[in-house]
């Protein structure tokens, strides 16, 4: 599997903070839309279909 499931985020607490921050005060619909945009942006950054497929698999069966 080419998907990296080892810890890889520098300053994890800081990132988590920013993620929640981005959703602050958003309605459920706006939050869903933001998540969707975020997924698409990250997926494009990864690009590799195999890695994306692995990510989907892990997300579905964590």
């Amino acid at each position: 599997m080419s998907l990296n499931l080892d810890p890889n985020i520098t300053d994890p607490d800081g990132f988590y903070d920013e993620l929640l921050d981005a959703h602050q005060d958003l309605s459920k619909a706006d939050s869903d839309a933001l998540n969707a945009r975020l997924i698409l942006i990250l997926a494009n950054h990864i690009g590799d279909r195999e890695t994306l497929r692995d990510a989907l698999r892990v997300a579905k069966a964590p």
Binding site: A29, D32, A33, A36, R37, I39, L40, I41, N44
Partner: protein, 541 residues
Amino acid sequence: MTEPRYDIAFKLYPYKQVAAQSTAPQRHPVVIVGGGPIGLATALDLGRKGTPVLVLDDHEGAGQGSRAICFAKRTLEIADRLGAGQAMVDKGVVWNVGKVFHGDDKVFEFNLQPEEGHKFPAFINLQQPYFEKYIADEIRVAQSQGAPIELRGKNTVTKMCQKDDHVVLDVDTPDGPYKILADWLVACDGARSPIRKMMGLSFDGRVFEDNFLIADVKMTAAFPTERWFWFEPPFKNSGASALLHKQPDDIWRIDFQLGWDIDRAHELQDENVRARVDAMLGEDIDYELEWTSIYTFQCRRMKDFRHDRVLFAGDSAHQVSPFGARGANSGVQDADNLAWKLDLVIKGLAPDALLDTYSRERAHGADENILNSSRATDFLTPKSDMSKVFRNAVLTLAKSHEFARPLVNSGRLSVPCVYDGMPLNGPDELAGPARTRVGAPCVDAPMAEGFLLDKLGGSFTLLAINTQPPSLEEVGGIAIQTLRISTKEDDPTGAVKDRYLGYTTQAIYLLRPDQHVAARWTTANAQQIATALRIATAQEL
């Protein structure tokens, strides 16, 4: 007598009583049921090869109102091989630019930017009745030159019965019923195929729960010749998506996606159609309603396109949603694939297993079309709340970010099918370009005079580039034509080199009558070529 189901735009095959109606049943090598675009194209192709063919249609010509409007390059190339391509381009509207809107905002613009060096454009818009008329016109030309094609209008097939080596048809006419016998029956009788039903065959797939209102309007407004597509259009009451696209004769195709629970009769009333069109075009624009209709779409196909002596082609065999313009365009590829095979089998030059490969190859094409068309429909009509969230996220991002634009799907326009991995494929022993690999249709290229496809005709062809091919005029009675090309002398733009040689310096291609690549080599002897031809005609399965 059967009642007409639709009005006629062009009377292409008026009813005439024939002697066969009052004699003992006559036997025909091929009978085609259905004189729509696919039945006519199949008849023309077979007739030009000298195989007698009879077409029966329950009407007298092309139905009023265009269904198909977008015809793809490969379709035009096939029509051109049959003699009808130029008339289509002369009449058609050539377009390249498409704009996609989400509400009031333009999301992005695309240009199909056809590659240089092809005789035909990527797409033209042309009303389907014209398409049918130009094929029928060419049938009349072929007939005058002796092609054994007969068209019988107002001949409704009401019953069919398969025997061991032929099919018996009951045909109804204004002068009463009669019987016809056919060695081979080609069912080109449309999506509701009565033949399929008479045989009790299934037609499985997905029905999309949505209604599309189509309005073809005539106006002289100065909208550009572009395909405009709206997701969640800003005009009042225009549904979930809308389309505006130009056709010849100042006709514009307008589509509104209305959803599932609608009152069809109400929505089709002129004043209700006009209210929507006014909202889209603006109150001050004058237009006439040419044709209106409401459609629901399905994506489905038959499991097999061949059942013994009966072959299914066009909408009778497979149906797709119109996003991507893959209906008629793929049906014409069915005709292209079937005619030469049926011709060789009837002439006793190939085994009847060749017809099974028609089903294999074209079912593969149908699956590709159904996949593309289902995906487009899922993007247009999100099936869940979350799929709508993603759809709109794509549209929002596409406005300012290039990366999201390839995800926007308002229909992936028809491209020709490549028969990868199919049983008729011979050796691919050339390190040549992928686009002309074995199974692919030939790619056009300009020559010193005219275009490459013009020179291929409709028989097997040995295309020899920068090399002397072995002399081979036939294999087991199947004629082979040889075309020698020198890239020094015959390739003014370098397109032949690019498209057929790549980094190699010479090549021999064996091309099928439908212009798909059967085999290719750097160099080949007569025996290798003969073997490849036998593979391509199912003699070595």
